[in-house]
């Protein structure tokens, strides 16, 4: 084992250890951070970004920790050795290098980050429009034709544009499988967009502390094929809009608690329960 701090063999050993450790750590991190299913196009894009971050994390963590542990072992004070450490006060070239190199990383990731943000939040013509209304501690979803549902039903493979509206305090619209997240702010509408690619059942979970029952502010989301969606929607139209009153816009539907009994979906039985606690 070389003794001198400036011996090149140290750095060769450390570099090899860092390389090995980086690869191992990346796989450990990947296993240790199990992301939910990829339910949307955005999940694919965001997960790629997350994995690039994990690679950099694995490398930088290995860099610091391998250097540190190696030094702790190799340069520990031996029995009976009363000498001081080698006297060097710094190295300007090194300092400049480890200022510039991270700066390059920053520029690259900023560029990558901006691109990803643009991809994730872009809008398209002919988006599927729906409005989400949050209140302590329940959700209502208002469709453009006036149908109101306590559960979110959406067609797969279409760009969804949800306009978010809060009736009382801050809430946050989050379906973990879709990755994206957006606060609901009273007094202003906010927007969130995603393109589901998986059919199945998910949940909207409120991710911004909103008071006593914040923990239970969840409601099912059903992503289905366009045909199934159309059938569900026509059932809803029959049930909700056939009363003779012509419903033109979303604003005319205000008594949203009345729709709870219209279950054409199997698991809506607890919906009345949730609204009952709230007031």
């Amino acid at each position: 084992m070389p003794k001198s701090a400036s011996d090149k063999r140290h750095f060769v050993i450390v570099a090899a250890l860092i390389a090995v450790f980086t690869v191992i750590l990346y796989f450990v991190l990947d296993k240790m951070l199990p992301l939910p299913r990829q339910g949307s196009d955005e999940a694919l894009i965001i997960d790629d970004l997350i994995h690039s971050h994990l690679m950099v994390i694995a490398f930088l963590f290995s860099l610091v920790v391998v250097f540190m542990i190696y030094a702790l072992i190799v340069f520990r004070k031996r029995e009976g050795d009363e000498s001081e450490g080698e006297h060097f006060e710094g190295n300007t070239v090194l300092e400049v290098v480890w200022t510039i190199v991270p700066l390059i990383f920053v520029v690259v990731f900023a560029f990558y980050g901006i691109n990803t943000l643009a991809q994730v939040t872009h809008s398209e013509p002919n988006e599927f429009q729906v409005k989400a209304e949050g209140q302590q501690w329940s959700w209502d979803f208002v469709y453009p034709n006036g149908v109101v549902s306590p559960e979110l039903v959406l067609p797969v493979n279409r760009r969804i544009h949800v306009t978010l509206h809060s009736k009382d305090v801050l809430h946050d619209f989050w379906i973990p499988e879709m990755r994206v997240k957006q606060d609901l702010v009273p007094g202003q509408d906010t927007q969130i967009r995603f393109t589901p690619i998986l059919t199945g059942d998910f949940k909207v979970r409120c991710a911004e502390l909103c008071g006593r029952n914040h923990y239970s502010m969840e409601t099912p989301v059903h992503i289905m094929q366009q045909a199934d969606y159309d059938k569900w929607m026509s059932d809803q139209e029959v049930a909700q809009l056939s009363g003779g009153s012509t419903v033109t816009g979303t604003t005319t539907i205000t008594g949203t608690t009345t729709v709870t009994g219209t279950a054409s979906i199997s698991s809506t039985t607890n919906v009345t329960g949730t609204t009952a606690i709230t007031q």
């Binding site: 240790m32 994990l54 610091v64 702790l72 710094g90 300092e95 943000l117 957006q182 007094g187 991710a207």
Partner: protein
């Protein structure tokens, strides 16, 4: 001796009397003006809290000298225990010696750390199983919110403790520049703590961030938090002014800014942040209070306000606050590392200036807390870039620490272990930052336990671990005795793996979809085992802290006598007896060399008395 002679007791009585006066005053005024009903709890309690706080400051005796000045009575600065009282009584009343005040701060910080940790253990136990077991959701939210502010108070108090005790010693000053202001800045924390803890009885469920409109419509406990934090902020501002003046005006001949011990640089950067940013949280909390009390519409969209405004003013303080919290800790790491490596601090100037750079960048990154808040979408990009920039000066610190370790003669007593633990934990916190700093990857992770893991790692690595290292390191200087080394090492080997488990556990379940601040979770997320691990780890950390407290108390009597300089450290305070005498330095010191010249034969940093001969050192004296 009678308890009534203790400042603390008189202060508490003053606070109780003040509170009653406040309650009565508002009720009386309302009755007088015919308001119905005369007894309205919220304004009455707010007046009670404010007047109670002033009552405490009057009762404890912190205003005595100033009141005497107004009446033209001279007040010589008294040093030493008050006449006719035992030494321990000094710690329970107003004392102007910076070493006493430093210890008052430090002990209060430890107490708050234990209270804050205790709150965490309560709700962690609740979270072991899905379903609500022994807390209802209201109590859960209140305790969770209180955990945040008590722990952060502990951080601010500990910073006050370390900088008050160490900075005057390190710059060879007899005391702080403004001793009375210093005592005031400490004691104003005590009514603040009482107000904060009193909120427990009224309930509040806003989390430490108290975002409106929830904090407007929520129960009355919020008001106690607002004024508790307002008083705390007063302490931060006054304390930092004092530190800055002490450091800039009272250094000995020969100590240019770049010859200060590196901890002073960290404290200087922190103090500038505290002095300039704290006003924003005070202001935003006052605005919340007045919106509740007087119906003002700052944050109310119905009156033309917006809830997002609060988030801007809140984070304009609270993000720099994170750097306020960690910079002194990073300074401690840089200070202690060279001692146990027996090597100069690698790149002193770079490390010093990186603190300043972090502080400056810290002012332009607050928006990264608001990526999904609904603020203007275009703002996300500049805040993302500025946030990533923080990595650069932080990287300089890490690499400089590695450079310091490399080629040293390393020994591993307890303070060194905690410093190395701090580096590893802060690395975890730092590296989990950029993933939250890029907007798209922040979206799935913000408001989840991933964020929790990230900032607990940052605060443990930047505050708790270095603070503990500092306690063990300066314990012999403060008490004159050594702590128990075996027990200290046991503490380290319990707490560090436990913390890693806790923080990584939080990150894991956060990625899986566990939201922050929820009293109960969906069993289908499969995070139950994760919660179990985090809770066990939390209890292990608590056990470690208790072990340290026992060690510190026990060693006061039985620890072996430490001598002047058990660590062979070059800083001025280690060249004088332990414990430090009442007037620290028998004669003024002067600086004749560099602070960290380990391994350089015949180099000295300071000498007692005036500079003799060393002409180059004098030239540096007027640098500031």
């Amino acid at each position: 001796m009678s308890l009534m002679r203790l400042g603390l007791v008189r202060g508490l009585i003053g606070q109780a009397v003040g509170t009653i006066i406040g309650l009565a005053l508002v009720t009386l005024l309302r009755a007088l003006f015919g308001a119905d009903p005369a007894w309205l709890p919220e304004p009455a309690w707010v007046a009670g809290a404010i007047i109670g706080g002033i009552g405490f400051m009057y009762g404890v005796g912190s205003l005595d000298d100033w009141i005497k000045w107004m009446r033209g009575i001279p007040t010589p600065l008294h040093h030493g225990p008050p006449p006719g009282q035992p030494t321990w009584a000094r710690y329970f009343g107003v004392d102007y010696n910076h070493k006493i005040i430093g210890i008052q701060y430090g002990v209060t910080a430890l107490i708050m750390l234990m209270i804050g940790g205790g709150f965490a253990l309560i709700f962690r136990t609740e979270l072991v199983r899905p379903g609500l077991q022994f807390l209802d959701s209201n109590t859960y939210n209140t305790i969770m919110s209180l955990h945040g502010w008590t722990a952060l108070m502990s951080v601010l108090l500990a910073i006050g403790g370390m900088s008050n005790y160490l900075v005057p010693l390190m710059v060879g000053a007899d005391d702080m520049a403004f001793p009375r202001l210093n005592a005031f800045a400490y004691w104003v924390n005590v009514p603040a703590i009482i107000m904060l803890l009193a909120s427990l009885f009224f309930g509040w469920d806003g989390g430490w961030t108290v975002y409106p409109p929830l904090s407007i419509i929520g129960s009355m406990g919020f008001q106690f938090v607002f004024y508790g934090i307002f008083f705390l902020g007063l302490s931060s501002i006054l304390g930092s002014i004092n530190i800055i003046v002490t450091m800039l005006r009272m250094r000995p001949p020969g100590m240019s800014l770049f010859r200060m011990p590196i901890f002073c640089w960290a404290v200087l950067a922190t103090s500038f942040l505290q002095m300039t940013a704290t006003q924003f949280i005070g202001m935003s909390f006052l605005m919340l209070s007045w919106e509740r009390l007087l119906g003002m519409g700052f944050y109310d969209p119905a009156k033309g306000g917006t809830p997002i405004l609060f988030q801007h003013t809140f984070w304009f303080y609270s993000h720099p606050a994170v750097y306020i919290f960690v910079l002194p800790g990073l300074g401690i790491i840089s200070e202690i590392l060279p001692v146990f490596c027996r090597k100069p601090l690698f790149g002193y100037r770079w490390v010093a200036l990186s603190s300043v750079a972090i502080a400056m960048v810290g002012f332009i990154v607050w928006g990264h807390h608001m990526f999904v808040s609904g603020f203007s979408e275009y703002l996300r990009v500049p805040f993302m870039v500025s946030t990533l920039l923080v990595a650069v000066p932080t990287g300089v610190k890490f690499f400089s620490w590695l450079g310091t370790i490399w080629g040293g003669r390393l020994t591993f007593p307890t303070p060194m272990l905690f410093v190395l633990g701090a580096i590893s934990v802060f690395l975890l916190g730092g590296l989990s930052g950029p993933i939250l700093g890029t907007v798209a990857s922040d979206m799935p992770l913000t408001d989840t336990y991933f964020v929790l893991g990230h900032f607990h790692a940052t605060l443990f690595g930047g505050y708790t671990f270095p603070f503990i290292a500092a306690i063990y390191f300066w314990y012999p200087k403060i008490t004159g005795r050594m702590y128990n080394e075996a027990m200290g090492k046991l503490h380290f080997w319990i707490m560090t793996p436990a913390f890693w488990m806790m923080s990584l556990g939080q990150m894991t379940i956060g990625v899986m979809g566990m939201r922050r601040r929820i009293a109960d979770y969906d069993p289908t997320l499969h995070v139950e085992f994760g919660h179990f691990v985090i809770t066990i780890a939390g209890f292990a950390i608590a056990f470690g802290i208790l072990l340290m407290v026992y060690n510190l108390l026990h060693s006061l009597d039985v620890g072996k006598v430490a001598g002047n300089n058990p660590w062979r450290f070059r800083s001025p305070e280690w060249q004088i007896p332990s414990p430090v005498p009442e007037h620290s330095y028998a004669q003024p010191i002067s600086v004749v060399g560099e602070p960290y010249d380990y391994g350089l034969a015949n180099s000295t940093y300071i000498q007692m008395g005036a500079i003799s001969g060393g002409g180059h050192a004098v030239a540096h004296a007027g640098d500031d």
